[in-house]
Symmetry: C2
Subunit: 141 residues, 2 copies
Amino acid sequence: MRIGELAERTGVSVRALRYYEEQGLLGSERTGSGQRQYGEPAVDRVRLIQQLYGAGMSSASILELLPCVVTGIATPEMLERMREHRASVVRQIAELQDTLLRFDAVMANAVTSHDTGVSCHMANGQDTPGDQIVAVSMTNR
Amino acid sequence: MRIGELAERTGVSVRALRYYEEQGLLGSERTGSGQRQYGEPAVDRVRLIQQLYGAGMSSASILELLPCVVTGIATPEMLERMREHRASVVRQIAELQDTLLRFDAVMANAVTSHDTGVSCHMANGQDTPGDQIVAVSMTNR
DNA sequence: GCTACCTCTGACGTCAATGTCAGGTTTCTA
DNA sequence: TAGAAACCTGACATTGACGTCAGAGGTAGC
């Protein structure tokens, strides 16, 4: 497929795909006239790249690890790097779960204390059941 | 406390703290000479801000939610925003957990091939034809 | 009061991942 | 075989969360 289709199928912009290639993250065949041609695996490849970006990795880190992830072959040094990245992901998950707890605390509290109506401006027409001001309490711990 | 101490206690740079203030995320008293003075709650506030940044929120989003957090008052609209952000966090966690699985798969497999001493250092993304995304056992033995 | 460090306000620099634009070529569709 | 749409290669612009520097004033220990 050509770059436009890959972009559409992955939800990534054409510009981004070219950037990935520039960074060495994504290869492509070229037609005689120079247009990029991708095979099916490119779709998953792009998604993987996006996933690693989402895990907070830089292009350089991804570049380092991607071949290993793709081929499943790594040197001990690569394994060590991967362990570090893995640990980072674990930390991120823990942080996000903590954040989730905070959100839940706020929202749960808001629901149960909706009758302590404190004056505050509110949206017009937005008819949620019990659409009065809601009091929440979320201490900074 | 002054800004330097707050920075040290939160692990956030002085520049970042001033930036938070600029964005309306963090208030401060001022001494007669204009120096910022913070109370104890500022420490937790900064950590909360960091946490929300870590959850991928922009300054604008944080600014939207913080008053609710601080005053304990939310409109139904704000609650809706919170639900959206919560959902985003849930998605991020799921993504990261998936990433974790990929890492684990690669590492588990790579261990078995570590003694083949195969170099994992080539960059151009277009490695072997028929490349797999998730590591599969493709080593000998 | 000296000295060393801390803080202030601008203002410009950075970095990574993209956006955007220009000017030209290729491919598809009617 | 047009004309539209997609693609190409540069190259500069943007965005967010800061870093960094300059020049000036504040603060604290001796």
